[in-house]
């Protein structure tokens, strides 16, 4: 019984990975000091990476990775049928992630480079929202455990999780960083959703936008800004395309 008078139950979670580096799942085991508390909030029903037990009665499915093969589509759809809440977990799941960089290459070329031309089954890296309905997205490459913890706590407490709507600059300035533009670099912080506590600029490397666009970003003004700072179109494409998170905005801006 809590102070609001309802029973809190651990959320039944399944964690599934598709094409990715599994770095996001790994974050679930981070923040060791609060890990036992965190584990008490969840009832792990299916999580191949850490447990041999597999049950199919999870309510919440964390989906990590993007989709790059037809068998993954089927697996994902089956998970969607079971899950009450399906969460896109990490940048690959939310936007396609670094895997999407291969989308710009002709398929045969990729196979040539990596598999000496032997045919391998693959398809363009696709974010999961293009295949199934996504109830909630937790972006980040990798996701921030802090945020994940907060969201899981919200679910247990039956309240609504949310993400910051403002860009990374806010958190960056709060950490008293020197702006990377002042250091002669181009940073995607002004258009990227905050929530990572500006780790990259705090480590003095430019944000590459792994958390995707902040709400209502001023993309034209940002493009103007990077043009003034003399970023070549190739570099810009490389930056904006790094996680595939600005693809949509980038394209609409061009047309």
């Amino acid at each position: 019984m809590n102070h609001l008078g309802f029973e809190r139950k651990p959320v039944k979670i399944g964690s599934f990975d598709f094409t990715c580096c599994e770095g996001c799942q790994l974050q679930l085991a981070n923040r060791e000091s609060s890990l036992p508390d965190f584990l008490a909030l969840i009832d792990v029903r299916n999580f191949r990476e850490i447990s041999s037990e597999r049950h199919d009665d999870y309510d919440i499915a964390l989906i990590e990775g993007s989709i790059t093969r037809s068998d993954e589509i089927e697996r994902l759809k089956a998970i969607r049928r079971q899950a009450k809440v399906l969460v896109a977990f990490g940048t690959c799941a939310c936007f396609g992630g670094v895997n999407s960089q291969k989308n710009r290459l002709p398929e045969k070329e990729a196979e040539q480079v990596v598999y000496d031309g032997r045919p391998v089954e693959t398809m363009p890296s696709t974010r999961i929202a293009d295949i199934v309905r996504v109830d909630f997205s937790i972006p980040g490459c990798p996701v921030s455990k802090d945020e994940v913890e907060r969201i899981v706590v919200s679910l247990v407490n039956r309240s609504m999780p949310n993400l910051p709507k403002y860009p990374v600059c806010v958190e960056c300035k709060q950490r008293l960083n020197t702006c990377l533009f002042d250091l002669g670099e181009i940073c995607l912080g002004p258009i990227t959703r905050a929530g990572c506590d500006a780790v990259c600029p705090s480590g003095k490397t430019a944000c590459l936008g792994c958390r995707g666009p902040a709400e209502e970003i001023n993309f034209p003004a940002f493009m103007e800004l990077v043009r003034e700072h003399g970023l070549s179109p190739v570099d810009l494409t490389e930056k904006l395309g790094f996680y595939n998170a600005f693809e949509h905005i980038h394209r609409t801006d061009e047309t």
């Binding site: 600059c169 001023n218 003004a221 800004l225």
Partner: protein
Amino acid sequence: MIYKVISKPEFRKFIDTLVKANTAFGPRQVDTDHHGEPVYQFMPVGSADDIAFDYTKTHSSAKHFFLPFREEISHFTFRDGDWEQQIRYEARPVVLIGLRPCDIRAVNILDDVMLHGPYPSPYYLARRKNTFIIGMDHLPLPDCFCKSMNRHTVSYGFNLFCSDIGDKFYLSINSSKAFGFLKEFETGDPTPEDDCLLIERRKLIKQSFRTDVEVTGLPCFLDIEFESPIWEKWGQRCLNCGTCAMVCPTCYCYSVEEHFDTDLKGSSRRNRLYSCNLVDFAEVAGGHNFRPKNSDRLKYRYYHHYRGFAANDNQQICVGCNRCGRACLTGINPKDVINDLRLERESCMTCVSPSRNRT
């Protein structure tokens, strides 16, 4: 106020002693930018040697020593279907060295807002009372416009203020603590020559301003210009990234967030510095946004700064440090925006017919 003079080496000794006996912050070089210019911030200092006494400007203001970017304002502990609320206004004593007159004026403005209204903030008070401020004057940088805002001098709100008069500092001592500490060091009463030097110094500072922003009557203009197309123009450039508000010494808007502890045994309520420039500042439940456009939000920040609100007697709260202007990536700065506004205004005043774009 008591006035003294102190030789520069002796002053350094004084600062060194103070810094070593307390948690202290002062200007420190943290980086060199791509033009080769040093970047300074108020950072922890361990001895006088850590302090860049000849610093030009810090990129961020000292505001966060009084209004931290994040702070817990209360904590709930849950037990047996009930809860308990704990509140603490604790603040450790802190020495702040090297604040400029405008920075101290900014703190005075925050005092007005946080302490002089109907609901004084105990959190702010705790920090304010536990901060020992040592101010230092400087020659204005080309883009400083605190004189336009009449915030280039300061007469209260600090413990000690130092004016550079050549070999010595001319000290304005405004607290018994500062006076007590200084007793242990070699200081002298100012001679008439020292006074002269001080007046010279003041004159020099006053004459050195290169940037002038005409703000007379601005509050009224801002009311009248609420619908001006100028805002649209500048709004189109604004990234709404909140940088200006974060570095500004007087932006104090905040939000309150509440989070459960992971063990669910408690929750903490936190203040978090926010900005009216951020997209969801005026959003309400259900998604309606009272300031939906970039221009609405940009305008609003200017409106607050140059019109002033009841919380501080409708005084302008900008002190003219131009931190926001320097930090803004797209080059939005008070001087250009205000001049633009006034230009537009003036041309309309001479117009016979009302300008277009206006209803």
